[in-house]
Symmetry: C2
Subunit: 153 residues, 2 copies
């Protein structure tokens, strides 16, 4: 008694959506490269020579998770990591040739997969859907760092 209907809870639905997405990704995009791995490769494609922290910022992953994902991509020789000669704390990331090839190939497949995932919605609904998710996640992310208060001078 007093149980709740979880299908009205956006958090629960978000988890199910992600499960559904992972399923489709494995079937239609790649069984080797996961969606977060693709996101990292994509960030490095957009800005070669990025450091891990910034990659995390671009793809919404914390430092530890980025390190793991990067580690896996390096093991598969899709990514290279070299110390920044300007700043010895940083590692600069770049795709290998193979990495660039894989990224190109998966980009096409991911686009097809997105179409399939959104197929149950009309095209106006699709736009709306993406917009609504974005607004909700962005608002919640801001609750995290409540707009820096400037230090008194």
């Amino acid at each position: 008694m007093a149980a709740v209907d979880l299908t009205t809870h956006p958090g629960h639905l978000a988890r199910r959506l992600q499960q559904a997405h992972t399923l489709l990704w494995n079937a239609m995009v790649s069984e080797e490269i996961t969606s977060p791995q693709f996101a990292v490769m994509n960030a490095v494609t957009a800005e070669p020579g990025l450091d891990q922290r910034t990659v995390g910022e671009r793809v919404s992953l914390d430092r530890s998770t980025v390190a793991e994902v990067v580690g896996r991509l390096i093991r598969r020789e899709l990514l290279d990591k070299v110390r920044d000669p300007q700043d010895g704390r940083r590692y600069l990331l770049r795709l290998t040739e193979e990495g660039a090839r894989v990224h190109r190939r998966l980009t096409l497949r991911a686009a097809r997969m997105n179409q399939v995932l959104l197929a149950p919605l009309s095209s106006e609904e699709q736009g709306l859907f993406v917009d609504l998710i974005r607004r909700v996640s962005e608002a919640a992310e801001e609750l995290r760092q409540p707009v820096q208060v400037p230090p008194r001078p």
Copy 2:
């Protein structure tokens, strides 16, 4: 070059939405009990004496993950597990008194949290949002088990 805009990828957005949700959950609902743990407790509240497999079905979790989550709830003495005397393969799950109390308390907080999470949307948009996510996840889940073909007689 040739990088993609991930903010148009529903899978990527789903992951970010879930991160945002987890953040808010920790801040507003509980730091001890996670959202999947709450989902399991909720399923058992609705149908006391459920077995693990069915709980997994109710909350969209596979057998292994249910076993882990159940294990954690038992360790905290929020849940009890007894062999089904009718069917020695099953374990029947029930909340402890403490478990029922915790579930009641978190239910209220979760409702408040949902309001905050959806606050950036108007109330029509909120309904739409929930509906769109549900439709997309349900459709994708059906791709998994493509409607049993009845065996020829």
